[in-house]
């Protein structure tokens, strides 16, 4: 297997619903090896992942809501404390805050995943949902600052951090061990 093949298989195994991911992976491998482009492949993978996240979240509504609430409860106070510390230490420099900010959301995602996983696909779906919700609320909260005329480069840095942070959050989710017990909710 090439590196591309290994990567997309791993992504789909992480995100994919148990019943559909195996034949889907087989189909994508078959198509890729018969000449389809990588662009086509990754569009298929993204569509499959998005569909899987929506299905998992829709079929585990209460689980998703509880996970988002827990993630927010962990992330928001921690984020406020760290932001104050960052302002004090570095004068609100974006690079350091980028790492801290990502760390906060990885910790929050880990808290969500550790508390509420049912199976791996649901866990990742919940991470994504949580991450998007947290980020959208943060973008809304920080929106006036992005267009501030006082320090545009710094505010652009924050905007970049805000956009990229979900990737770090997802990466944090990937690091979690799988728990297989069934959670009734």
């Amino acid at each position: 297997m090439t590196r591309t093949e290994r990567t997309f298989v791993q992504v789909l195994e992480w995100f994919g619903a148990a019943n559909t991911s195996d034949p889907l992976i087989g189909d994508l491998l078959e198509e890729l090896r018969s000449g389809r482009s990588r662009w086509w492949l990754w569009r298929q993978v993204l569509a499959a992942v998005a569909g899987s996240v929506v299905r998992e979240a829709a079929s585990n509504k209460l689980l998703s809501l509880r996970a988002i609430a827990t993630g927010m409860l962990v992330a928001m106070p921690l984020s406020a404390v760290v932001k104050r510390a960052a302002d004090f230490s570095w004068g609100n420099e974006p690079l350091q805050f980028c790492f801290l900010n990502c760390f906060i959301f990885v910790v929050a995602a880990a808290a969500v995943g550790h508390k509420f996983p049912r199976h791996r696909a649901a866990t990742v779906a919940v991470f994504t949902l949580y991450s998007l919700t947290a980020r959208i609320s943060l973008i809304a909260f920080n929106a006036p600052h992005f267009f501030s005329p006082s320090h545009p480069p710094r505010e652009l840095g924050y905007a970049a951090v805000t956009i990229l942070a979900p990737l770090f959050t997802l990466f944090g989710g990937f690091l979690l061990p799988t728990r297989t017990e069934h959670l009734e909710c």
């Binding site: 559909t20 087989g26 189909d27 078959e30 499959a48 569909g51």
Partner: protein, 110 residues
């Protein structure tokens, strides 16, 4: 109990299953819909819809043989069930009845 109604994507996939039987699996189904239905559909969507249709009893599936070009993964072949065929007939007949004689549809794909 209300009978489950199929949507347009489910209808396209059921029609593709009828056309491709008994060799209907993800890739040819997506290609058939793209070629004849002139609609692009992701493979992940095809499998998600097929899973839903299988749960509703409109299709069933069986695993083929695993092959090396698929990384040792088997194809999953789908067939329409009599209940699925009945659904297709019902929707098709409703569509034909509703669209008959509409001048607004003249010149469109029949």
């Amino acid at each position: 109990m209300t009978r489950r109604q199929i949507n347009d994507v489910e209808m396209l996939i059921l029609l593709a299953l009828i056309r491709l039987a008994p060799e209907a699996y993800g890739v040819p189904i997506a290609r058939e819909i793209e070629a004849r239905g002139q609609r692009s559909i992701a493979l992940g969507t095809v499998y998600a819809v097929l899973e839903r249709l299988e749960a509703a009893g409109f299709v069933n599936s069986e695993l083929g043989e695993a092959t090396p070009e698929r990384g040792g993964r088997a194809r999953r072949y789908f067939q329409i069930t009599p209940e699925g065929l009945e659904q297709v007939r019902t929707v098709h007949s409703s569509l034909r009845a509703m669209s008959a004689g509409l001048k607004e549809l003249k010149g469109s794909v029949s």
